[in-house]
Structure formats: C-alpha cells, structure tokens
C-alpha cells in the first residue's frame, strides 16, 4: 500500500525555473526521504529529513517537513533538462526501522 500521495502527479517547466512538489503521508514517521527515478531505471536517494527537522538543503534541493500537517515539499531550484525524472517521497514510519513506504510520485519534465 502507498503511504503518501504526491502533488502534482505531473509537472512541466522550462529550464531555469523552480520546481516544487508536495508529499502528504498518513502515519507518524522517523524520517522522510526523497528519491529520483529516471525512466526505466532504479531509484537514487536525494535527501533525508528527520522528524525533528523542519528544513534541509542539499545543493539545489530544499526540503521542508511539517509533521503537524503530515506533509513535505521538495523544491528544485534553477532546474535543468537533466532533472527530468520521477520524484518519490518515502517515509519510515515509527516502529518500522529501515522500512520505507513510497508515495505515488511526481513526474517532472524540464524543457529547454
């Protein structure tokens, strides 16, 4: 079963613009992670934010977490064509160490 839902399901932007995608989840969590998946390939870990953190940065990525609303957002700044991929949030629920439950994903298309 999918833990999270992501919004939007698909996003199309031009190179240089910022992309924001949102994730909502249902249970208490230890951490929330974001992964990227290029078409037909495996997933690549991008960033992890723990339940006691509210914001985290990594390069052009910015992640926020609001545990009261059970939601997270991923911002990609100054997008590039190479950022075209599907992005998934994944949650590690409390009491389920090392087990991730993935959301439905956002398909990002960055055009030149």
């Amino acid at each position: 079963s999918q833990q999270g839902e992501e919004d939007p399901q698909a996003l199309s932007i031009q190179e240089g613009e910022n992309a924001t995608m949102n994730c909502s989840y249902k249970t208490s969590i230890n951490n929330l992670q974001w992964y990227r998946q290029n078409s037909g390939r495996g997933l690549v870990h991008l960033i992890l934010i723990r339940s006691n953190e509210r914001e985290k940065h990594s390069g052009r990525l910015r992640v926020t977490l609001d545990t009261s609303k059970k939601s997270s957002s991923l911002l990609i700044t100054a997008s590039r064509a190479a950022d075209t991929a599907s992005y998934f949030c994944a949650t590690e629920s409390t009491g389920t160490a090392s087990k991730l439950t993935f959301g439905t994903g956002t398909r990002l298309q960055v055009t030149l």
Binding site: G4, R41, G42, H45, L48, S98, F102, G103, T104
Partner: protein
C-alpha cells in the same frame, strides 16, 4: 562506487511459466529489499531481509512468490506461476545494518518483467 546488481534486466515470459530474479547487494549491507513497481506508481515492498532472515513479507503473495537469501548475501525472487498482472519492474535495494546511522536505501537498476 559500489552498486546493487540485478539480473536479468529484462524478462519476457508466458503466463503460468516460472521466472526468477537475482540481486547482489552492496558488499556489507545487511538489509536487502525486493520491491514491485507497477508503471506509473511508486515501489511497493514485497519482502525485507535482515541478513538471511525475513523481517517483513506481509505484502508478498506467498501462493506464487518466494524469496530467499540463503547466505545473507545475494538473493533470489521467484514467481511460479507467473500471471499477467505480475508485469512490472522488480527492484532490489540494500542498506547497512539498522543502527549504523545510514537510513537510505541503494537501488539496483531493476528487472522489467512482461508476462504474455
């Protein structure tokens, strides 16, 4: 850089046949996961191993799916008999032992299965 290996990359089979997928995790990773990903959806956990022991197989259709990790290193996922609805990407991932402070999972390239 160490990677998770999976084979085959693609498999086409007819329904009622048996198929098997193989995964070799990153060396030293104690935890191994098998996921199924239907096109357009997120991965869903089928089975999780800690060393050679199954930790979670609650979503594994046990009437037709089986998984093993006999020596706590590589793993095999089998489907017998395959059904049309099994067409999907099968992903393997690994992570270090819990408590090491590394909670991310490292994914292999996946096996794309098509059942005709």
């Amino acid at each position: 850089e160490a990677e998770v290996a999976q084979s085959p990359r693609y498999k086409i089979t007819e329904k009622s046949q048996a198929v098997a997928f193989w995964c070799d995790p990153i060396s030293g990773h104690a935890t191994l996961y098998w996921y199924r990903q239907i096109l357009g959806q997120g991965p869903e956990l089928l089975v999780q191993f800690q060393d050679e022991s199954v930790v979670d197989d609650s979503q594994l259709p046990k009437d037709r799916f089986s998984a093993e990790r006999l020596k706590g290193v590589d793993s095999t996922l089998k489907i017998q008999p395959a059904e049309l609805g099994d067409s999907a990407m099968y992903l393997c991932a690994s992570s270090p032992r819990p408590g090491t402070g590394v909670e991310t999972q490292y994914f292999g390239p996946g096996t794309r299965l098509l059942v005709l």
